[in-house]
């Protein structure tokens, strides 16, 4: 290609590309600045803070799963160990160490990185399913050891700290929730920007290559294990950053921050959001955090619902919610999106029936099996009924049956319509 043509291509990609790349970040900054003024209750602010932390962790997790094809069942140990490192340093700060609290997430990151390199070196010796099982085993090991080492992990009570005990910088002591919110926002934007930048580096590209075809990477001069280790280390660094922010916010680190539930949760977030894109895990983190916090007010069974939702995603939407949205791309670009509204609306009815019936069954059982002391009288969707009564059971089963039958009827029709739309859009 001629020198002139090459330069032309570069500049053409240069000017508009820069603008297109900066847009989402600018939007994100605006949203972050505006939100605390719209959502002013402490509850809402807590929610935003939790989302911020979850976003960093989920994006870090996706560096492994979505970018490099590495499925880890125990990634929370880097989150937790990073958090523990941070909280111990926080205690040193309270005892007189001169170190800004605002930089504690960096300490968390270094903690995560240290253990990421240590355990990552072991884990990345295998790939695929074996790797996944190894991460599970290592998580169990760390949790079990954490229970034994009381001095370091605080046993049942955990390790606590005081985030206002640090040196006051620019008038900030992190006493108020608002200040913590902005701290998290800054770290979140910085972390996301760095993680995004990583994907645009040679190793970042090679991570994708290892995901697609690790064998071929060897024949291009690279050791796939080394690339996996680098991805693992970077991912654990940012997981540790999230852990450090967690430590600063809650001023307490407990063993459940490194265990199975948190590991499973981040996996669910990333996968439900969609591991094939950078935005997916972010979306997943926001959604799952919201469900977790909002649902647990209404029902004890939120983990069951989440699990059910996750199973449905693995079966029918392996590219996650982002994948579902992107799927409509060609149709939207052809201006045919409105034609799908009617079929979708029709399909919504059996879906709602099925959902209502399932929820009813779950809630009835929950009341009877887990909270029997509350009695059998309960209220759902505004309807009061007796949980032990036959009417409740029959009604729920009927709803489920109708919903299921309706779905079987309408499902293929909607599918066919979709196919038609896609063909038309492509033409």
């Amino acid at each position: 290609m001629s020198e002139v043509a090459l330069k032309e291509v570069a500049t053409r990609r240069g000017s508009t590309a820069w603008l297109r790349a900066a847009a989402p970040w600018t939007l994100a900054i605006l949203v972050i600045l505006v939100l605390p003024h719209l959502l002013t209750t402490s509850f809402d602010r807590t929610l935003l803070i939790e989302m911020g932390i979850a976003i960093i962790f989920a994006a870090a997790y996706n560096m492994l799963l979505g970018e490099t094809g590495m499925l880890s069942f125990g990634h929370a140990i880097y989150f937790g160990l990073g958090g523990y490192t941070a909280i111990h340093v926080l205690r040193f700060i309270a005892a007189g160490l001169l170190f800004p609290v605002a930089l504690l997430p960096l300490v968390g990151g270094i903690g995560g990185l240290f253990f990421g390199l240590l355990f990552g070196y072991l884990s990345t010796r295998r790939a695929g399913t074996a790797f996944a099982m190894i991460t599970l085993g290592l998580m169990e090991l760390v949790v079990a050891l954490a229970l034994i080492f009381d001095h370091l992990f605080g046993g049942e009570e955990g390790i606590s700290g005081n985030r206002t005990s640090g040196p006051e910088l620019f008038g900030i002591r992190f006493g108020s929730q608002t200040q913590v919110y902005y701290l998290i926002a800054v770290w979140m934007l910085a972390s996301l920007a760095l993680m995004r930048a990583f994907t645009r580096t040679p190793v970042g590209r090679l991570c994708n290559a290892v995901r697609d075809n690790p064998e071929r990477v060897q024949f291009l001069g690279y050791d796939p294990s080394r690339i996996r280790l680098i991805a693992f280390a970077v991912s654990s660094f940012f997981a540790g950053v999230a852990g450090g922010l967690f430590a600063v916010n809650y001023e307490l680190m407990a063993i459940n921050s490194l265990g199975a539930e948190r590991s499973a949760l981040v996996l669910l977030m990333a996968y439900i959001g969609g591991i094939g894109s950078f935005l997916g895990p972010i979306l997943g983190a926001v959604l799952v955090t919201f469900l977790q916090v909002a649902l647990s007010d209404y029902t004890q069974a939120w983990l069951l619902y989440l699990g059910l939702f996750f199973v449905l995603v693995t079966l029918f939407a392996p590219n996650g919610l982002i994948g579902l949205v992107l799927m409509h791309g060609p149709i939207a670009r052809a201006g045919l999106l409105h034609r799908l509204v009617a079929p979708y609306a029709m399909a919504l009815i059996p879906v709602l029936l099925l959902a209502a019936g399932t929820i009813a069954l779950v809630e009835i059982n929950y009341r009877l099996a887990i909270r029997p002391e509350l009695g059998a009288a309960m209220k759902l969707f505004g309807v009061s009924f007796d949980a032990k009564g036959a009417a409740a059971w029959i009604a729920s089963l009927l709803l489920v049956g109708l919903g299921f039958w309706g779905l079987r009827l309408i499902g293929p029709r909607v599918s066919a319509r979709w196919g038609e739309m896609l063909e038309e859009a492509r033409a």
């Binding site: 645009r200 580096t201 060897q218």
Partner: protein, 250 residues
Amino acid sequence: MTAPALELDEVHKSFGATPIIRGVDMSIARGERHALIGPNGAGKSTLFHLVTGRFPVSSGAVRLDGEDVTGLTPFEIYRRKLARSFQITNIFPRMSVYENLRCAVLWSLGHGYSFWRFIDRMRDVNERAEAVLERIGLERRRDLPAGLLAYAEQRALEIGLAIAGEPDIILLDEPTAGMSRSETEHAVDLIRRVSQGRTLLIVEHDMAVVFGLADRISVLVYGQIIASDTPEKIRANRAVQEAYLGTVPA
């Protein structure tokens, strides 16, 4: 006397109790175009796997430019300037054609495991990738995910990945398999151009390609080389005719 570019010395390979390669000696000179032919199941692909480090040899030695490379990993062998293509297309399906090629040029340009610079800003990487893209004729498919390419285009990308690092020795495993006549002609043309000044070892079934391209031919039957000579002598070789060629019209 300069060492041969590629040398196999009494190479044996057994899988469990089954011997596949039963004592192969080969010597390929620098700059030579060498074809490896033989019936199916003779062990040609296995030989490639042994040379490129995919499988360990059971016994014997492989030497590159006189240096013993037996038992090295595939990436260590690649770094010694030996590259290969695969019989069954082995590309990165979810990445674009251009990204595929960029990954292939990285090591030879000395970038190693760099994650502190943006790849888009690396002029040498992008220039070389564009050049290879042009050479293999896939400019119009630049941004298409490689998994969506047509078969012959994927085979072209396969060759592209092998040559992108500007290796000294190129191993091509049935590059024209499944191609039509005109596609084959294009491929042969490409192969002739990219192997100019390099050493080429090619496995092929298409005799027209073999006889048109090769300086020397080796015939592998049941894991042993039964003949290794110039094309004319091979064509006239009794044993080769019996084992593989049949009587080929002159």
